[in-house]
Amino acid sequence: MLHWFNQKFLSPKTFYTTSSSLLPWFIAAFVLCFGYGLIAGLFFAPADYQQGDGFRIIYVHVPSAFAAMAIYSVMAVSAVLTLVFRIKIAAICMSCSAQIGAWFTFLALVTGSIWGKPMWGTWWIWDARLTSVLILLFLYLGFIALQSVITDQQNRDRAGAIVAIVGVINLPIIHYSVIWWNTLHQGPTISQFATPSIAPSMLYPLLAMIAAFLFFYAVILILCMQNQILLREIKSQWTKEVLCYDY
């Protein structure tokens, strides 16, 4: 049953054609959300009463941090699908997600750091959130490093899956221990997002940006997965046929 489902819907070829037809929609959704979020966030949302216009960094910092976390959970799910059900495209999804996730994590760190300069007067502060994101970056980089040194395709998929699973088990533990460590050391207690109720005019652009980041992830994921699929299936006849219609 599962095998049949795998053959029918999760075969690389089906995935390739389906995702190709979905791609324009994702691009359109990304452009819409990103355009609205960018303009509304930068120009129409009112300035924060504490942070002034400086808070506008939130519209890239929070979505990138959120997307980075979300992508890691996508990776973990794909890892389970790879290891237990041996679904090929899950493995491809995992390794593609890792790259994008690492980029988003990097983005969250850099934007967080730039935000820190006007708010705290320093480029880096060991607050719980930034530290967690930093560790998340290490987890991503560890995954990528391991996958890059293994030559055999199947082993690379499975070894990566194990790392992703170990990471996702540990991530909550790391996160809470970092929070606990932060309170223990009585660090700066300025929380970036302490505002209890956020005005809708500030919130909607944020939600739009989060959606935009996730759509962007989907777009890059599809492109990256298609490349991987073509490389892996280079010997199948369909790769030749599919490319005739492609852009």
């Binding site: 055999d152 199947q154 280079i234 010997k235």
Partner: protein, 214 residues
């Protein structure tokens, strides 16, 4: 050594590819109690890979391996208890003595290591004079003999030996032939990768890997 249950190993259309190139494919054979299979081929033709696949370490990309008509993918653990694998490296810990190595191997097979049993095995492969020497001081041939001694600890139907004759002297090769014959007449089966033709035994099958022999 008591007789073994009648067993059956069937290989159907086995294939292995790496980096989009087939190392081998369409490997078919069937082995029954008392059969010996020689795998021959040039260096790099995939002999070791095939043997590791038959031992259940590597998954085949195509085809099936059936043990007693059951696929080993589903029953790998049960299957792997039915085989001895002797690879390029003999699985010998260099800092242990010959005797201790066999003790360890027996423990890994969940055998109760009886001293006499171990001593007999050591004697059979003619290592008694070094039985309390650390393996690091042994020669390559002696290590190989020690590897062979492991096969004698516990009667197991399928032997998979990867180039067992390397490093063995004439006596050692004769010993190997003798042990194999004994194993086969007891109803065992063996798969051997080799460059040389072994002393012909009854029921010997041969497959060639690589292009030049087809």
């Amino acid at each position: 050594m008591h007789s073994l249950q009648p067993n059956k190993l069937t290989i159907d259309n086995l294939a292995f590819e790496r980096n989009n190139q087939f190392l081998f494919r369409e490997i078919n054979f069937a082995l029954q109690a008392g059969d010996l299979l020689q795998v021959r081929g040039a260096n790099g033709s995939g002999k070791s890979t095939l043997l590791r696949m038959l031992a259940g370490f590597i998954e085949p990309q195509g085809g099936t391996i059936l043990w007693q008509d059951k696929s080993i993918c589903q029953h790998r653990d049960a299957y792997q208890q039915q085989l001895h694998y002797l690879g390029h490296h003999n699985g010998i810990k260099h800092s242990l003595t010959v005797y201790e190595n066999l003790q360890l191997h027996a423990a890994l097979m969940t055998n109760k290591p009886e001293p006499n049993h171990l001593k007999t095995a050591i004697k059979q492969v003619d290592l008694t004079h070094v039985s309390h020497t650390q393996a690091i001081h042994l020669s390559a041939g002696q290590l190989r003999r020690l590897g062979l001694a492991r096969l004698l600890l516990h009667p197991i139907p399928l032997w998979i030996l990867d180039e067992p004759t390397t490093a063995l002297d004439a006596d050692g090769q004769a010993l190997l032939g003798h042990l194999l014959k004994q194993h086969l007449t007891n109803g065992g089966m063996a798969i051997i990768a080799t460059h040389q033709t072994l002393a012909i035994l009854h029921n010997t099958k041969t497959i060639y890997l690589g292009e030049q022999h087809v």
